[in-house]
């Protein structure tokens, strides 16, 4: 028999260890299979482009509904990628290993949500000015629109992540997820779309953006913990 191998130091966990682990892994998986991210962006572009075709090219009307339509499109597109956020890890046992990891749940939960935002919310934000041009939005409005999406889509990812974790293991999880998450998205939608609309009508967008920012801070503080707790319940 060979001599026992020298054992290395006891494993130790940290928030950053869990965060970077989850983010690196999920981004690499998304890179291997870009179809989901592409689908999200394509869905957004298609939905937002269908409205002018259906309603007719009346510049004033389009400029009026533009911010709302773009926000609804972004919200639905961000929702598209949610069901798979934890379901695959649940099915192949990765979630068990994550709950048993010495890294705190807060770290990998935040990392997974961050990776989700990078492949869904961020591309939507970057694409939104282009879509906004179709609606004849002014440059100022386009800027505020993109800014509101930049602050708002991470909130959607965090809320959606918590709901996706809660819906794990339930039959008809996808439907349940829609029922859980979409109502919670409503305040984000109202303030997000409201910001660009206020800008377009010559009012200040600051109150809307401040409220969105406050929502983001609250979500950052509270929701990763909720995700970790929900996952723990799901794997039991």
């Amino acid at each position: 028999m060979s001599a026992p191998a020298p054992k290395r130091h006891q494993a130790s966990g940290s928030f950053s260890g869990g965060f970077s682990w989850a983010m690196a892994r999920d981004l690499r998986l998304a890179w291997r299979h870009p179809d989901e991210a592409v689908l999200t962006v394509a869905f957004f572009a298609l939905v937002a482009s269908l409205f002018p075709l259906g309603i007719g090219a009346e510049p004033q009307l389009l400029a009026r509904i533009g911010p709302g339509v773009i926000w609804v499109g972004a919200l639905l597109a961000a929702f598209l990628a949610l069901p798979g956020l934890f379901a695959a890890d649940y099915a192949d046992g990765s979630l068990e290993q994550m709950t048993l990891s010495p890294h705190p749940a807060l770290g990998w939960a935040a990392g997974k949500v961050a990776a989700h935002w990078i492949v869904s919310g961020l591309p939507l934000t970057l694409l939104s000015p282009l879509i906004g041009l179709q609606y004849g939005l002014s440059p100022d409005t386009l800027g505020v629109q993109a800014l509101s999406l930049l602050i708002g889509t991470p909130v959607l990812s965090l809320l959606g992540g918590a709901c996706a974790a809660l819906a794990l293991g339930a039959r008809g999880g996808g439907m349940l997820l829609a029922l859980l998450a979409l109502p919670l998205f409503v305040p984000v939608l109202i303030f997000g779309a409201g910001a660009a609309e206020a800008q377009a009508t010559g009012l200040s967008a600051t109150p809307h953006l401040s409220l969105l920012g406050a929502a983001l801070i609250a979500a950052l503080v509270g929701l990763p913990v909720a995700v970790g707790a929900a996952v723990r319940i799901a794997v039991d």
């Binding site: 028999m1 026992p4 191998a5 006891q10 494993a11 260890g17 299979h33 990765s94 048993l100 010495p102």
Partner: protein, 215 residues
């Protein structure tokens, strides 16, 4: 055999009066056992008697309905992170990503365990389980046994003192089973503990093997 951790408390897992129910049915109750360094406890019993649930209770995945689990003399719940750092669990589910190669799967599995390894160490571990030539192939194109071997490489590099193994020999061929027994042997010789649910007879050359029968 040397103590490998800071606290100085001996590596010992004690389970006292453990009970668990699944729905209305009582799965098991009054389970008492102790595993010390260098010992392997094989949990045996017919299908559905609660072997997997017992293992999951020990790791902390499933909350037991009664009883206590002591790790190094302290209740596991008081410092779950220390318990988790000291425990490697290999369950029914492989925890492998089909789109990642054997090498990447191993790397991420170890990073999740908070274990720092070099690419060279991981390559050697994969070579030791016979996956050297296939280490860059996506896991979806590996056979069931080869996928299990990735798990063996993970165990080989994990410094955890306690191994909790659920049917560790499933899908492994004779050579794979030998590899596993070798690994287990080395783990026990190094003062490690192991708890395994298995229908096979495990006979590592070193260490004490005991049995726990669930009715």
């Amino acid at each position: 055999m040397t103590s490998r951790h800071r606290s100085g408390a001996p590596d010992v897992l004690q389970v006292r009066d453990l009970a668990c129910r699944r729905g209305p049915a009582l799965l098991f109750s009054g389970i008492d056992f102790e595993v010390a360094g260098g010992e392997l406890l094989c949990v045996r019993g017919p299908n559905g008697c609660g072997k997997t649930t017992l293992l999951r209770c020990v790791t902390g995945l499933t909350r037991p309905d009664g009883g206590t689990i002591l790790w190094r003399g302290e209740p596991a719940q008081t410092d779950p992170e220390r318990m988790r750092a000291g425990t490697a669990y290999a369950g029914h589910l492989p925890s492998l990503k089909d789109d990642l190669s054997a090498e990447e799967n191993l790397e991420f599995a170890l990073r999740l365990r908070g274990v720092a390894t070099t690419a060279e160490e991981r390559r050697e571990a994969l070579a030791a389980v016979g996956l050297e030539k296939r280490r860059r192939i996506p896991a979806r194109r590996l056979s069931a046994g080869q996928r299990r071997r990735i798990g063996l490489a993970r165990l080989a590099l994990d410094p955890a003192d306690l191994w909790v193994l659920d049917e560790p020999l499933t899908a492994l061929d004779d050579a794979g089973q030998e590899l596993f027994v070798d690994l287990l042997d080395r783990h026990l010789a190094g003062g490690g503990l192991a708890l395994a649910a298995t229908h096979h007879r495990l006979a590592p050359a070193s260490g004490v093997v005991r049995e726990l029968r669930l009715a």
